[in-house]
Amino acid sequence: MIALLVRDLRLAMRAGGGFGLGLAFFLIVSTLVPFGVGPEAKILSRIAPGILWVGALLACLLSLDRIFQLDFEDGSLDLLATAPIPMEGIVTVKALAHWLVTGLPLTLAAPLLGMLMNLERPGHFWIFLTLLIGTPALSMIGAFGAALTVGLKRGGLLLSLLVLPLYIPTLIFGAEAATRGTAGLPASTPLLMMAGITAGSIALLPFAAAAALRVNLR
């Protein structure tokens, strides 16, 4: 399992695209929004947590189809399926690798980009915290969507369509917790709900994703 994780991280680093793509997209979103909304600091700081969350979510969505597609095309997935790693383990490791390559950099970059959006003082901490808890769920749900569409030509668009409604609860609770925390309101309820979604996704979705992968390899 560790070998698989190391390999995926190494591939992401060598192929380029991996680390860079999501971050670049995130940067683009957070620099473009002020141009669209106007430079008023008040408005920007109010919408900043929401924009950062949406930006992170879209950046995450962008790289989902790579989770299984490349391994499927070059035959590695067949070989991994016959290797002594359970399919659920493969899914979990792949989702973890995706999180390390996209979710974690996004989480680290978000407080910095928050400055561009006039995010107020406690907001930096809150956006970091909510993304840290929420992005693993995004990667796991995304891995499930990728497992469903792995064998399909032009699966990318379909993948976005499938994953979009699945992301909504995470987005709502994450952005809500960040907004409330920034405004100094109690934010523990949405935070706990989001943590629950993350924990539930990590615990249960690998089984669903593994089932989908097995069907797709048939």
Binding site: R10, L11, D71, T82, A83
Partner: protein, 213 residues
């Protein structure tokens, strides 16, 4: 570890392709699988490897004893030859890749990214992967595609020493490998609606193919 198959029916897309297959692959044995293109050899190998369920019957061997060598080699273009091999070795819990490297004459290529390999070299690397799985039963689908004569000999030697060590191999191929082997022709097992069927086969098909009218 013996691979025994009795009354096996394999299906592609839900439709039976080969049926009533029965054979045994014992340790030390090589079985050559032959039959025209599209006759279901790949489907059979994938079923034996546990990648898809058989329509009828079962495979006696534990999937953990089997390794499957597909058309695609499962190589990562940006990883070097050594990294590719080490990865598959550690996935299977082994660490020694030296026999695989020497067996397929890859010593001089170790540092090269596999993107820069020729088709034949890639194939050799793909076959070397078999040795680092440490599994006794090899299921190989057209292993000699794009290999030159010298490499085919290397491959045949690898199979010979694998078999001599108590392993076994089921190889779908169209060329003569010069191995001491029995041949299994899949032609007679081609699924045919007019063939008389046993009851359990009938039950398995019954959901759609036979009963629906």
């Amino acid at each position: 570890m013996e691979l025994r198959v009795e009354n096996l029916t394999v299906a592609r897309g839900g439709v039976p392709v080969l049926e009533g297959l029965a054979f045994t692959l014992s340790p030390g044995q090589v079985l050559i699988l032959c039959g025209p293109n599209g006759s279901g050899k790949t489907t059979l190998l994938r079923t034996l490897a546990g990648l898809q369920p058989p329509l009828v019957g079962s495979v006696s061997a534990d999937p953990e004893q089997i390794t499957y060598g597909a058309h695609a080699d499962g190589l990562k273009a940006t990883l070097s030859v050594e990294e590719n091999l080490r990865f598959w070795a550690s996935v299977h819990g082994l660490s020694d890749i030296a026999p695989a490297v020497d067996g397929f004459n890859l010593r001089g290529l170790l540092e090269r990214p596999s993107a820069n390999l020729s088709a034949g070299q890639k194939r050799r690397l793909g076959l070397a992967r078999l040795l680092v799985t440490g599994r006794p039963i090899w299921l190989l689908d057209e292993p000699t595609v794009s290999l030159d004569a010298a490499s085919v000999t290397l491959f045949a030697d690898a199979v010979r020493s694998h078999v001599a060590g108590g392993g076994s191999a089921l190889i779908a191929t169209h060329i003569d490998l010069g191995l001491q082997a029995e041949t299994l022709d899949v032609g007679p097992f081609k699924a045919n609606a007019n063939r008389p069927r046993s009851d359990d086969q009938r039950d398995a098909y019954a959901d759609f193919d036979e009963a629906f009218l």
